[in-house]
């Protein structure tokens, strides 16, 4: 019997080391795996809140209209009614938060209109397009056209 124990010692000692290692692994795992990991799926639940808390750059047209109701009225009846304010005027969430401190810049008309309305065979056939060079020889579009409510 005592001989058996003597031999078993070779097994018991590595088994103890293995158990200690396993225990250590479980302790470290419990410390470093976030508590909310697996709350919704195989990821850290709090990351949803972190991602949704990022700041916005574009305020959205609803914000613009709150103050600029006169422009909005002109804009809402024209061909550009579906084009939202910030598509031409740029990201203005900062301006909406503090209108005095963050003045918006005027749009770069020379490039702005061309991007949408330059003649391109790939554009939908019904979409109004012009060969800008032949059409106006570099004269800015808003010399003749009123961008908030254009008529052709």
């Amino acid at each position: 019997m005592s001989r058996l124990f003597k031999t078993a010692g070779h097994l018991i000692r590595p088994a103890l080391v293995l158990l200690a290692g396993l225990g250590l692994f479980l302790v470290i795992r419990a410390v470093i795996v976030p508590k909310d990991f697996g709350k919704y799926g195989h990821y850290r639940g709090a990351s949803l809140g972190m991602i949704s808390a990022r700041p916005i750059s574009y305020a959205g047209q609803d914000q613009c209209v709150l103050c600029h109701d006169d422009e909005a009225k002109v804009h809402s009846t024209g061909k550009h009614a579906g084009v939202r304010c910030e598509a031409c005027h740029g990201a203005l969430a900062k301006h909406a938060d503090d209108p005095g401190a963050n003045k918006p810049k005027l749009p770069d008309v020379a490039n702005l209109c061309r991007r949408c309305h330059e003649k391109d065979a790939a554009k939908p056939k019904g979409f109004p397009q012009v060969d800008t060079v032949a059409h106006s020889q570099g004269i800015l579009c808003n010399t003749c056209h009123q961008p908030h409510n254009p008529h052709l």
Partner: protein
């Protein structure tokens, strides 16, 4: 900074105390709690794209870059121009992702059109399946997101995405991709690309909202997702998608 053995023990002791006091990972990282008004279970987000309305102006690309601080030369959304000639391979171009629009094409003799691309927000997403650490996932409201604090930057997901929608952020060294403007849609706003699309070619949709126009759109139009044979359960539906589009 010089650290003595004593300082190290002090810091170690504090960390042990914090851990035993049950400080969560959130308290250490400083995560904001999800908004009270927004319930993830009430939404299932996707997008509908009407190819016949896209004019290739690149407003979506510029808006996305601005809203999400996308580094130069990388894109979360981009626009491709297809020129398809009978019996030939289609010619596809997308200069700088179309961030400045396209140089005009005069080839009226070929079939040509624009295709806006973005993450397809797959419900059975290959990128999520390969992530070894649980850093990328489909949120309960159906958006494929990346947890920057967990991503190792191993790039498995970049290879796995059949649509080429992911990139390694050159400064953060973690994977970045379209979040469907998760920080906007959870606040009741639309995505930056949809907000700025002048023709309404792209529209954010919520499949769980019975009043959403998507239901009528899917009923009345012939739609297709990109690469349906990949069985990714993509949720970006294209109207009148040409067979040449990959």
């Amino acid at each position: 900074m010089d650290l003595s053995r004593r300082d190290l023990f002090k810091i170690g002791g504090k960390l042990l105390l914090l851990a035993s006091a049950g400080a969560t990972f959130d308290e250490i990282v400083g995560a904001a709690p999800p908004s009270e008004a927004y319930r993830t279970a009430d939404h299932w987000w996707g997008m509908i794209i009407d190819i016949d309305k896209c004019i290739g102006c690149g407003s979506c690309v510029r808006a996305c870059s601005e809203e999400n601080h996308v580094p130069d030369g990388y894109f979360r959304t981009w626009v491709e121009r297809y020129q398809v000639e009978e019996g030939k391979q289609p010619v596809v171009d997308s200069p700088k992702g179309a961030i400045d629009g396209f140089p005009p094409s005069t080839r009226a003799d070929v079939k040509s059109f624009f295709v806006p691309k973005l993450c397809n927000q797959c419900a059975a997403s290959p990128c999520v399946q390969v992530c070894p650490v649980g850093a990328t996932f489909v949120s309960p409201d159906g958006v494929v997101l990346v947890d920057e604090t967990y991503c190792l930057g191993c790039r498995y997901c970049i290879q796995a995405c059949p649509y080429g929608c992911r990139y390694l952020h050159p400064e953060k060294h973690t994977v970045d991709k379209c979040t469907l403007c998760y920080h906007r849609i959870t606040k009741g706003l639309t995505t930056a690309c949809c907000e700025n699309c002048p023709t309404g070619a792209r529209q954010l949709v919520d499949f769980k909202d019975p009043k959403d126009p998507v239901h009528e759109f899917l009923r009345n139009n012939k739609v297709e997702v990109l690469k349906p044979y990949m069985a990714t359960q993509a949720k970006v539906y294209y109207k009148d998608l040409d067979g040449a589009v990959r």
